[in-house]
Symmetry: C3
Amino acid sequence: MTRLCRTFQTAPAAVPRENSAKYLDSGLTAEGFEAPDWLAPDIEDGTAPSMKAEALENTIDRLPEYGPDFGGEIWPRVEWSYADPSFRERGVDQIDRLVGEAGDHLDGVVVPKVGRRDDVERARAAVAEAEREYGYDDGSIGLSVIVETARAFSDLREIARLGEDSRLTGLIFGPVDYTAELGGRAMDGQRPQWAAMLERLSNEASAADLVAVGGPFDQLFHERAGVTYYNAPGYADQVTREATIGIDGSWSLHPKQTVQANRIHMPTAEELERDVGKIERFVEAKAEGSGAVVLDGQMVDEATYKNFANTVATVRAIDETHPEQTADRYDADLVERARAVELGFA
Amino acid sequence: MTRLCRTFQTAPAAVPRENSAKYLDSGLTAEGFEAPDWLAPDIEDGTAPSMKAEALENTIDRLPEYGPDFGGEIWPRVEWSYADPSFRERGVDQIDRLVGEAGDHLDGVVVPKVGRRDDVERARAAVAEAEREYGYDDGSIGLSVIVETARAFSDLREIARLGEDSRLTGLIFGPVDYTAELGGRAMDGQRPQWAAMLERLSNEASAADLVAVGGPFDQLFHERAGVTYYNAPGYADQVTREATIGIDGSWSLHPKQTVQANRIHMPTAEELERDVGKIERFVEAKAEGSGAVVLDGQMVDEATYKNFANTVATVRAIDETHPEQTADRYDADLVERARAVELGFA
Amino acid sequence: MTRLCRTFQTAPAAVPRENSAKYLDSGLTAEGFEAPDWLAPDIEDGTAPSMKAEALENTIDRLPEYGPDFGGEIWPRVEWSYADPSFRERGVDQIDRLVGEAGDHLDGVVVPKVGRRDDVERARAAVAEAEREYGYDDGSIGLSVIVETARAFSDLREIARLGEDSRLTGLIFGPVDYTAELGGRAMDGQRPQWAAMLERLSNEASAADLVAVGGPFDQLFHERAGVTYYNAPGYADQVTREATIGIDGSWSLHPKQTVQANRIHMPTAEELERDVGKIERFVEAKAEGSGAVVLDGQMVDEATYKNFANTVATVRAIDETHPEQTADRYDADLVERARAVELGFA
């Protein structure tokens, strides 16, 4: 998996400000660690119903302007609902206009609130239809879905398998809608974490070579004694849990979240030093002919080895698209070693 | 989901007492918070083998007497086993007699120890057959199953989907049988909680619009220094975990458990005040035209909104069937606001 | 489930020592609690690529010598990969030679890194083919698979169902490869425990009457102030978590781990005393005609009863194959009571 999506940042595509594209503009022009790997101009729930038309216009207007210089991928979120055909009609129209008027600057579209597999197939058909209509190559416009209904989780294996030979690219968790649909409640202030469902999401995404993204964290700010402050630990804890189980990226609602998720889904200098070092020592021991190499009290086999190699491969992918991030975090020597080390096991 | 099942109380339908229907009578005549939403006269594991015939007679005898005044639903638990045809034969006979002699007072039957989907289809056919034989409308007698075998969990998605267009109404977890079948053990006194399986149960129930019910908690009493006391915290902790992940109701073995589960699966006054208030403020902000409403540091979209609305909808459902419970717990003003507030998002 | 597999010990079948079969020999001749229920001569990841041919020869050489006196089962691990046909070709050759030259001493083969169901069917066909070629009865050589890829977990239900009427015997978890494939990371030193996936593995194994085995624990040794010591608590914690959810056995990389897992998956004297006692009291109460028996504040039904009976059944299985282990752990009186007590519920 070398498709980089440490961060999936949604930006309301129209807000009631003097510049209604304020958040869209700032997402598209963010720099350094504030630049998300994927930016999702949000025409859906983040935008007021009265401003959705303007949100679509803003997106179509801004992509040709900022898209060419934006380092990451661009994935507008359109309207949809497995339960409501009027939402799907609006979604189909939005997909049609986005592909027709800004298709050169789109990596794909994000479709929320999908139901069972047949509903995902409907969304897929809408993208394929727009692609054909405007002369884009088959499969050139991607589709990612937000998994936030009981029906989508029930069919998750079947939905993910649509991705094995098609345009489906990412599975993104939507816990707020999901909790509401299941009738879950924040007891004693604790919302459900859906640990089992996240393991399944990570598994099915990997089984079909899709990107897996965690859900949004909306407790952006806390207040204490009259001072409101950014809730940095709360978001970091969630992103850390996601990274542990192989969720590739995290949902960001704010540039500060993007900074955190970009960093947490990026190996630390210690991790990179350790894993580059292990691979170097492994290659050396291998050359000396001994079979089961023992490093730091652990037996290393091909599977163990892959864990070290994953660290290096991720750093290489970041280095290609955001060299300023690798330069910021690692010594130049270490980056050089990560570029140079041989990654094959055999 | 407006079918109310905060409590699924099993009552042994015959016990070796002067009045062998003692527990059945007390369940059917319970009042206030002791009244379960669903009462299951238990002809299965709660009743001794030698008393099962009497248990069936007691049930058939008492339902016409107490059923009309019982506020909740009545769901006798019959015998069954995916692994043993003699149990299934007894179950089919029990279903036949219950529908034939007390069908007017039954909401459905509970079938335990089901296996894979084909076994649930057998149980469904038994209910359909009795319904036809005694002239009840197709689908008027419900079926709920106890999910307590490895085979039923393996087929859970397929079993739940039987409910999409049929009489299947509820999925009830049975952890004791389940743990035994998997060979699980209470290590250091800790029994497995099956957190992942409960998430799946909640998900598949919601995906097919079924009621999900947690498993029994049989450590009813503790003893300390010669005094035996009701284990109130133990049960409350389990019910709280279930409510968090959207399990609709909890299994009760005792009127005190029914009191607790009815209350825990009922929003607190603070929750109702908060969520009615949020909806009122949301409606106001919406009327002022601003799109992404921020309340208490959280952005509110349609999905977030549903969480508030769920609270109000549950209270309304309780208020319709148990007005004494809403009167007990909430100020009259607050109940009035919950009845009055407009629940649509758009 | 009476197939005993408390321990699945892998032994590298060739190492660069004077006696290259050192670990294989010591596994096959281990005694007492060091004797694994299943020994897996490892021709795969535990053996260096340059020594794999020698590993196969060692296995074929040692099984006729030590197999007849080895108390447990023998399951060599061959090479395989769902993703790489050259690995599968080597695996097919290894299976052919093992069955052809040591088939009398094999209980089955362990195939790692399987993918979706069709890949497991390929492995199954390879065993069937060797069986036919060398005149063994159909199904006499078993197949167990290591579940360590996203594809295998995605298809776990379908793979397990192959075991319902075939040679498939065990599902063994492989967390290191699995974590690598999903891109999981040890954050703050914590590796993912995959609790939800283990619940599924335990469930699907039980649903198809297969043995379920947990994953290896490779942090064998810790170092403190210059002294390296065996990490007994770390492994015991993992095995305990596995036993709680009905995982039948644990993976062992070292005789000390085998000692621990054999003991943890074996009821303690207190457990056996308690459960034999409960069954004795239950049988007594039953004879007195009372239905719902209450023991120690818990209502006992058939399902509860099975938990006690499982304890006794496991001890009996150990007593048959390793009487020195039951003699070591329990009083002779208690073993006698466990042998004598009647286990049926009805």
